[in-house]
């Protein structure tokens, strides 16, 4: 359950979002600058809303009324940033283990490494990884921090065609294997269609509508056909 109702101002940009969704994987979809990443950062605690409430699966992370503002480090959210942000001085293995140096279930590490195909990369440093590999390590690092939910910011951006397919395949596998509430930020319809259950369409810092992914797919196909038919 994703429950957002907050207002946030950054310079001249204002974000006002009221969004409730039962979807397991929700995509925030819209053009760049519409407030998708700001929303994700507000959920992660990296941006503080002026007022409102942010809750995931009944856990209140922020509530200005009840004066709740859970610190970033205690929110237990696996964030995968658009710019990856692997720690350059640590090996892939140490990056992966950073969030849970003493994991409750050691076999979880091997499961995630296998799920994301990271076995051969463990000894490498981040500067020895391709774009797709780095993205997979970032996803693994977030998963291994034992999060309550996963926040993915444009997980396929800046990847060439093959790397996109590679990461997408792993994200689909992740969805099959793990029942984890996931919020995905994207401005690419194919990415949304292959991972999300529901899509929140955003525009100028507001929510326009929430659609089930099937309906979103139909509208996208219609939108792509319409200009052609108009000719």
């Amino acid at each position: 359950m994703i429950d957002l109702d907050f207002a946030l101002t950054r310079g001249e940009f204002s974000l006002q979002l009221v969004l409730r969704s039962e979807a397991r994987t929700l995509a925030l979809f819209g053009d760049s600058g519409c407030g998708k990443t700001s929303t994700l950062h507000a959920i992660a605690g990296l941006l503080k809303p002026a007022r409102g409430r942010i809750a995931l699966d009944e856990h209140a992370l922020f509530d200005s009324h009840l004066r709740i503002d859970v610190p970033v480090a205690q929110r237990k959210l696996g964030v995968v940033f658009q710019d990856v942000r692997l720690f350059p001085h640590l090996s892939v293995r140490d990056n992966l283990c950073y969030g849970a140096p003493r994991p409750r279930d050691p076999s979880h590490f091997h499961d995630v490494v296998q799920l994301l195909g990271l076995g051969a990369l463990l000894k490498r440093k981040p500067d020895q990884l391709s774009g797709g590999q780095a993205r997979r390590v970032a996803i693994g690092r977030a998963l291994l921090s034992e999060p309550l939910a996963l926040l993915l910011d444009e997980p396929l951006s800046n990847l060439h065609c093959e790397a996109r397919a590679e990461v997408l395949e792993h994200l689909r596998g992740l969805k099959r294997e793990l029942a984890l509430t996931t919020i995905l930020v994207s401005h690419q319809a194919d990415e949304v269609l292959s991972i999300a259950d529901a899509v929140a369409l955003m525009e100028d810092g507001r929510l326009r509508s929430i659609l089930p992914v099937a309906q979103f797919g139909r509208e996208q196909r219609f939108a792509m056909r319409a200009p052609a038919e108009a000719r």
Partner: protein
């Protein structure tokens, strides 16, 4: 060291000891202040910045005199230290305090630049993974700013090694106890026929200062090259 007479060797070794102790003691508070200035915004920040830079701006004699007033046998803290048999006035520990105070601003400025060179986004990422401020500092910020940190330490050591004004004001010149290399050099210049000794110590001072600053410059260059 055959080419360096006994009392000059003593002055050199004392200076090395004083500079090392000064740098070591200045390091923890300098790390704290530099981190505050690099990573936090708070009321009174310009005031702290100015206060930290004071020893760099004030005439060293003034700093030495203030130290004497506070830590001398009649000073507020000095009396307490006397009672605990920990007097530092006119002792090598006092020379280390004076050198530490004078090197402190340089150390803070260098460490602040080193911390600011670390991408804050990496620290944010560490926070989202559940790391607290200590773990982020020791696991991410410190290792990623290590070269700048070592360069800052080298510069502070060189500054402490060359300290003269505040030291001679605070702890005077006692052979083997507070007569550091710069003070010995000054006294040789004041002594008829001391020129050759002064020249020898000048060479020693130049070599130590060059070694420290060159080491710092090399580390900074390597840090720049290591940046992606």
């Amino acid at each position: 060291m055959a080419w360096l007479p006994y009392d000059e060797t003593i002055a050199l070794l004392l200076s090395l000891k004083v500079a090392a102790a000064a740098t070591l003691c200045a390091l923890p508070p300098a790390v704290g202040c530099a981190w505050l200035l690099a990573r936090r915004r708070f009321i009174g920040m310009p005031l702290l910045e100015t206060a930290l830079l004071l020893p760099l701006i004030l005439p060293p004699v003034v700093t030495g005199y203030v130290l004497l007033q506070v830590f001398g046998h009649r000073g507020a803290i000095g009396r307490a230290l006397d009672a605990l048999h920990l007097a530092i006035a006119f002792r090598w520990t006092g020379a280390a305090l004076a050198a530490g105070v004078m090197a402190f601003p340089l150390l803070v400025v260098a460490l602040r630049a080193a911390f600011e060179s670390v991408d804050r986004k990496l620290e944010q990422a560490a926070a989202t993974l559940g790391a607290n401020a200590w773990r982020i500092f020791f696991g991410i910020t410190l290792p990623l700013s290590l070269r700048g940190l070592v360069a800052g330490i080298a510069l502070a050591f060189a500054r402490a090694f060359g300290e003269f004004g505040a030291t001679i004001t605070f702890v005077s010149s006692i052979p083997g106890e507070t007569r550091t290399l710069p003070i010995a050099l000054y006294e040789l210049l004041e002594t008829p026929g001391g020129e050759s000794g002064a020249l020898r110590l000048t060479w020693v001072a130049v070599i130590v200062a060059l070694a420290a600053t060159l080491g710092a410059a090399l580390l900074r260059q390597r840090a720049r090259e290591a940046e992606p």
